[in-house]
């Protein structure tokens, strides 16, 4: 059945939507939201991070709805996000309060509090595990109870909990340039559109909402040659952050009146980037700058890449596209880039007719 793209649209759309549903259901098996939440942690974290909406169940629903298509799932959640009124702003979340599950530093072997490898694929062999083909829920339960027993036997003092930050240690040693505490109210790019020159809070927001692949690729360009940045992972931590809101019932807010509304899992990265600074008397010194990355969920590559781009944009060297804030910030959003690319599928007959008129005109002019 052919269709004329411009006319007879109503029926064509209805049929197309049916066909889409058929594709989702044709094997006669339905994905369970609970199973998505249980087994697709990586995808859920990525979807939450790119849609800037922290809700594992909604993310699972979006993944089901989109049949696992990442850009579509992010799109669904972002559109849903647009319908939600903003009722509260949380209190400042201090990442020193993170209850840590994983924490590493590539700069120091002995960091105060120690390295905690935690759950990571970094040291797995990427050999496809064919046993997983046969894995059952029962296997899972058995393995879990054994693992929990093993954990009880380990009388190790509990790793999980708050740990000092590596950057605090470096700051004490005087290895960072002085920076002043800045408590300016951050901008909110979802309420007021980005303007240039941008503020750092705007940049960090756009970066953390950025499409994982786009953020990673641009940061890769920075360290490969288009940016001459040589960063080290000062600290990468993954864990849970508690979120509090001010009490709506007390006009004068005291710390202990605040409401705890839950916790979010996040990845935080502080990249150390050496930089030459003038210290007076014509002398120079190498100090460290920080590139900062923070993402919802466990998104380590993206958080590191974000840290690299944060610093690259802070420096703003226009010799490289990755130092140009408009170039980076305008092009890394998933919903924007996929939307504009896909709009090319829309009919453009009227504009094409107009083009045709111009082509004919220039032809007839030349013939004369």
């Amino acid at each position: 059945m052919g269709y004329v793209a411009v006319k007879g649209g109503t029926i064509a759309i209805e049929e197309s939507i049916k066909r889409l549903k058929y594709e989702r259901l044709k094997k006669g098996v339905v994905l369970d939201i609970g199973r998505i939440e249980a087994g697709l942690r990586g995808l859920i974290d990525q979807v939450m991070s790119e849609s800037s909406l922290y809700d594992e169940t909604l993310a699972a629903l979006a993944i089901k709805h989109a049949e696992g298509n990442l850009e579509e799932a992010v799109f669904l959640l972002r559109a849903y996000r647009s319908t939600l009124p903003r009722k509260h702003y949380s209190q400042i979340v201090n990442t020193k309060d993170m209850s840590i599950e994983r924490r590493i530093s590539a700069s120091f072997k002995d960091i105060p509090g120690g390295q905690i490898l935690g759950a990571t694929t970094d040291y797995t062999h990427r050999l496809l595990d064919f046993d997983l083909m046969e894995e059952t829920d029962e296997d899972a339960v058995n393995w879990l109870s054994a693992y929990e027993k093993e954990m009880l036997d380990e009388v190790d003092e509990k790793h999980f909990g708050k740990l000092p930050k590596v950057s605090d240690y470096l700051r004490k040693e005087g290895l960072f340039s002085e920076c002043v505490m800045d408590n300016t109210e951050p901008d909110d790019v979802t309420r007021k559109s980005l303007t240039f020159p941008s503020t750092r809070s705007q940049r960090l927001q756009v970066l953390t909402r950025g499409q994982t692949g786009a953020v990673t690729s641009l940061a890769y360009a920075v360290i490969r040659g288009y940016g001459s940045l040589h960063p080290t992972v000062g600290e990468l931590r993954v864990g849970y952050l508690p979120v509090y809101i001010d009490s709506p019932f007390h006009s004068f807010n005291r710390e202990d009146d605040a409401y705890y509304i839950g916790e979010i899992k996040a990845t935080e990265v502080e990249m150390l980037i050496p930089e030459t600074v003038e210290i007076g008397d014509g002398k120079k010194e190498i100090k460290f700058e920080i590139g900062y990355g923070l993402c919802f969920g466990q998104n380590e590559t993206k958080a590191i890449a974000m840290g690299i781009l944060d610093n690259s944009l802070e420096k703003g060297n226009r010799d490289y596209p990755t130092g140009d804030e408009e170039f980076v910030l305008y092009h890394i959003d998933s919903v924007e880039s996929t939307g504009f690319i896909s709009h090319l599928k829309l009919p453009h007959y009227v504009t094409f007719q107009s083009k045709l008129d111009i082509v004919r005109k220039s032809k007839s002019k030349q013939e004369m």
Binding site: K7, T10, T190, S193, F340, Q353, K365, Q366
Partner: protein
């Protein structure tokens, strides 16, 4: 899990913000007002700017018409109409005269709009100087200083290359002698319809996060040189195969069997109403 969407999709806070930007745009004709464009249930680039304007403006008594490429039945127009109906439950129409809000992509209807109507145009690239200057920071300054040599220079270059202005659609216009504006990708044929339009024209760019406006009875002049005047697409000696109309924007179609090229009104609702009139008057004759 049952979740109800708000009337016209947005929460009231978002609507208010978009309306504020719209009012500012009307107060400064042709000036691009930045706004915090929301993600919509249709893709960026598929009319989210227009849709946000429509949804923030629409009330229960409004009658909506949506066209894409001049057609009410085009897939994208239908899709947008469906979304507004679903979330606002308002009346839609294909009759241009009957509509209070007309959302359109790439065309301004053939039937002249009247006072009280609002035309919402979808805009992919709102910045008329973008090809000349890629940086937003710089183009904002150029607008502020009314420095539009770039817009004319691009036209000058076309004349040097092709012997005439070669902007096919989205030919830049000067609004009230102050702001150079992208009229959205309407054909040049539709540019003059903006000049002293009786209806309010709102333009929304969702992905680029800009709203701008041509209030009723505003001067809108297509950029041109003294010795190279602005020209619209020519459909000389052509007429619509169905209703016989001339002096309208025509689609060029091709008959596979006969190898013939023929023309048809691009504005389908205009064509249809003419056909109805003709059959009525024929009916009177015969009856």
């Amino acid at each position: 899990m049952q979740i109800h969407y708000n009337f016209a999709f947005f929460d009231e806070g978002s609507k208010r913000e978009i309306r504020r930007a719209t009012l500012k745009a009307i107060a400064i004709p042709g000036y691009q007002v930045p706004f915090a464009s929301r993600e919509m249930p249709i893709a960026r680039g598929w009319g989210t700017g227009g849709l946000q304007l429509t949804l923030s403006l629409i009330g229960k008594d409004d009658v909506l018409k949506v066209i894409d490429q001049g057609s009410d039945e085009s897939v994208n127009a239908v899709n947008i109409k469906k979304l507004v109906m679903k979330t606002a439950g308002i009346k839609t129409t294909e009759e241009t005269q009957e509509a209070t809000i007309i959302q359109s992509r790439h065309r301004i209807p053939e039937i002249p709009l009247t006072e009280g109507q609002i035309l919402v145009l979808q805009v992919p690239l709102p910045e008329p100087l973008r090809d000349y200057e890629p940086s937003e920071y710089n183009t904002k300054r150029l607008h502020a200083e009314k420095e539009y040599s770039g817009a004319w220079l691009m036209l000058f270059e076309q004349i040097m290359k092709y012997g005439h202005m070669a902007s096919d659609f989205d030919h830049p216009v000067m609004v009230e002698n102050r702001y150079v504006m992208a009229p959205s990708p309407i054909p040049r044929f539709d540019n003059p319809k903006m000049h002293y339009s009786k209806a309010l024209i709102l333009l929304g760019a969702g992905r680029e996060k800009k709203i701008y406006a041509v209030p009723p009875y505003t001067k809108v002049v297509s950029l041109a040189f003294d010795d190279y005047p602005f020209e619209v697409e020519s459909f000389e000696d052509k007429h619509c195969r169905l209703c016989g109309a001339t002096g309208v924007y025509l689609d060029e179609l091709f008959n596979e069997e006969t190898g013939e090229t023929y023309y048809q009104c691009n504005d389908t609702s205009y064509c249809l109403s003419r056909l109805n009139e003709q059959s009525e008057s024929r009916g009177v004759q015969h009856g």
